[in-house]
Symmetry: C2
Subunit: 423 residues, 2 copies
């Protein structure tokens, strides 16, 4: 027998991620209708667009070589220039009026890599990150992985409540712990899992609270805008980033995984000038640059009308599917007392709350009943970070993968399951 | 003025990587002939192969969708099956005779990501990793990044000396530090920077030393086989991995960055069964899976004769360029007393030692003279980890980028520069 392998402290911290369990559940229940998977709509995956764009990237030996050679750690200059233009357009800013430069843009393997790197470079064990409740569970895993402590801030259908955030920071200050607070994490558009979009007033207010409590050191806001461009209706809001006129408090992240392809997996960040070097140093250690070929593909997609055209298609498809889910919720759940859900204006998720006595976790009778009836969801308790007793009566329902008929049938089965448990 | 951003302890540790400085030097001296860059041969980048293979991957909506959707954290099953076959072929093992399974294969963003993840999951601050002298400087950066201590083991033209390794571990044991030794890092084929290939006897011996000193815990061998398939002449040796019949001491890493394309950046590892979960958990935190599209490309490249054919072309080109560099070394350096170099049988590098009094670092008169004459190299001192006074009279010379005429001219300029300094 070999002697045991000793894992690092960090590795032990990281042991408890729900995503592997979720994937295993999905594999074991392949015939279930999945309202769980966060995958993107297979119908809208850009097979033809990618064909066209790759042909352009590889059209000449010169352009092909550029794409197939090593790139640099922060990513291709040409793409970063393109991303700056793209971002300014989203913000409704003329490029000439913004002082942000392409140097502050860093390309990553999905936006996830930037969430992970940000945790690595800012958080020591014991440091505090303020999060919404519920929040994105993979980022909660990043916090656990670096030994940081998430503190949940009251959150409602307008997003994280800045007054609650302010009070929580005041309490931490009174307890002598303000020096530990390094980060406020906000999924600003159509949150995963809650579907909530932070309201315009709260965007400014959250940034202001970060500034207010930045005393001995700066409290950074990590703005996760992964779902920003999956907008279906309602107002299109400027980022939290745009409310920070000093461009020094907000780390902004976005990705083309949802709008183009998660298999290509190009994300990016816009970061304060002084974080460029530490982020690149960390990324240099991890992979010294994401795949250059993929960056060339996204650059080409963005360079003409292809992107806008494809995005419209994607949005139209998701809008239909969101509507199908909301209609099915009305159809099957509205007569159930104590059931409520959030109406999302974008993104991929509907967040549903059941009566408090209906437990939703993997070990619950409801989950078992749902699997028996052939439908899966993500238990809401996964999405609370740092709470001893997280709410356990909620579900994340995704309309990403199924078609409208499948969504309706999935919702019907789920409502049936709830009825069985309530009986 | 904003208050200062506090970086994590880890970020401070990571601040001193030479790669950014090297890249900056390259950017600032674009008209220099580069014997420094570790880029791959642009002439052999597989523009047409990639075109052909992408067309196949995207041929049907179904196969295209598979490639453009999210994959799983360890990578596509189909690719991992393919990689198992590929690896068995390299080892000369019939697949039926190996007990390693595709489950033990993990796909990464280049092999670099697996080097980084291995450091993360095995090393606590203060832990020890035994390394060759010289060794791969990016991995040395990973060690510094996690706060681990590299200890350099005597290394010669046969690679890391197992007797010296054994003695070093005996010394550490005597000093009560054996419990801190977690890892032995070996670039087993045509080392970056030294070009050295670990000899057959030493392969077995290094694994045996790891086993011998694995008392309270297992000392793992991290085998970096990035250059394995860039073999030009001499024997083709089996891996260190193959000498561990328990399949529990060696973490084996390889990449298609050198043999196919660094812009596609698909690497992989073969790891002991019990490390699959910790590695996937860490990778799940970092990016929950490298780009699926790229994995589909590599799978397709490997699936028929395309890979073998392309590899032959790549090797023929590098072999010519290696020969050009060795001939130029003979031509321009052989009359210089105290200059010697290693004859590599594969890989991308010639390691050259100058007389001890000729300093080669960035601040040296030689480096300045070389830049003035229009040639760049990588100073050898970067490649020593954990030594207080690293040797400072060596150079890593790469024949990756230039053509044979450029290599000859670069070597001529370099020899001229050495003569100027020696005068």
């Amino acid at each position: 027998m070999s002697s045991p392998i000793l894992l690092s402290q960090r590795s032990h911290q990281a042991r408890d991620l729900p995503i592997s369990f979720l994937m295993q559940q999905a594999v074991e229940n392949r015939d279930c209708l999945s309202l769980a998977a966060g995958l993107v709509d297979p119908d809208t995956l850009p097979v033809n667009v990618t064909k066209e764009v790759v042909a352009r990237v590889l059209a000449t030996k010169e352009s092909g070589n550029r794409a197939l050679q090593y790139g640099t750690t922060p990513g291709s200059e040409a793409l970063r220039e393109q991303l700056l233009k793209h971002f300014c357009k989203l913000e409704g800013l003329p490029e000439s009026q913004t002082s942000v430069s392409a140097e502050q843009i860093i390309c990553t393997t999905g936006s996830q890599q930037l969430l992970s790197i940000t945790s690595e470079i800012l958080l020591n064990p014991g440091d505090i990150c303020m999060v919404a409740g519920p929040t994105y569970f993979v980022f909660a895993g990043n916090l656990v992985g670096v030994g940081a402590r998430p503190i949940t801030v009251r959150t409602d259908e307008q997003g994280m409540d800045p007054q609650a955030l302010d009070l929580a920071l005041a309490d931490l200050n009174a307890a002598g712990q303000l020096d530990l607070v390094k980060l406020i994490y906000v999924v600003s558009y159509y949150d995963n899992p809650s579907g909530v979009c932070v309201s315009a007033e709260r965007r400014k207010a959250i940034v202001d609270v970060a500034k207010k409590w930045s005393r001995n050191h700066r409290i950074m806001v990590l703005e996760d805008a992964a779902y920003r461009e999956l907008h279906y209706d309602g107002p299109e809001l400027p980022s939290l980033w745009s409310y920070d006129d000093t461009q020094s408090y907000v780390i902004y992240t976005q990705t083309f995984s949802k709008t183009v392809s998660p298999g290509i997996r190009v994300g990016f960040g816009i970061v304060p000038q002084e974080l460029v070097a530490p982020i690149c140093e960390r990324k240099g250690n991890e992979d010294f640059g994401s795949a250059n070929f993929n960056q060339a593909i996204i650059q080409e997609v963005l360079s003409d009308g292809l992107y806008a055209e494809h995005l419209e298609k994607v949005k139209a498809s998701y809008r239909r599917k969101r509507d199908a889910m909301l209609e099915a919720a009305d159809q099957y759940f509205s007569d159930l007392d104590g059931v409520s859900w959030v109406h999302p204006h974008g993104g991929l998720y509907v967040w549903m709350s059941l009566p408090k006595e209906v437990v939703t976790d993997f070990r619950s009778p409801l989950f078992q009943e749902a699997v028996n009836k052939g439908v899966m969801y993500v238990p809401g308790s996964f999405a609370y970070a740092g709470l001893e007793m997280p709410p356990n009566h909620q579900m994340r329902l995704s309309y990403g993968v199924l078609d409208p008929a499948g969504i309706n049938e999935g919702m019907r089965r789920l409502a049936e399951s709830v009825r069985v448990v309530l009986r």
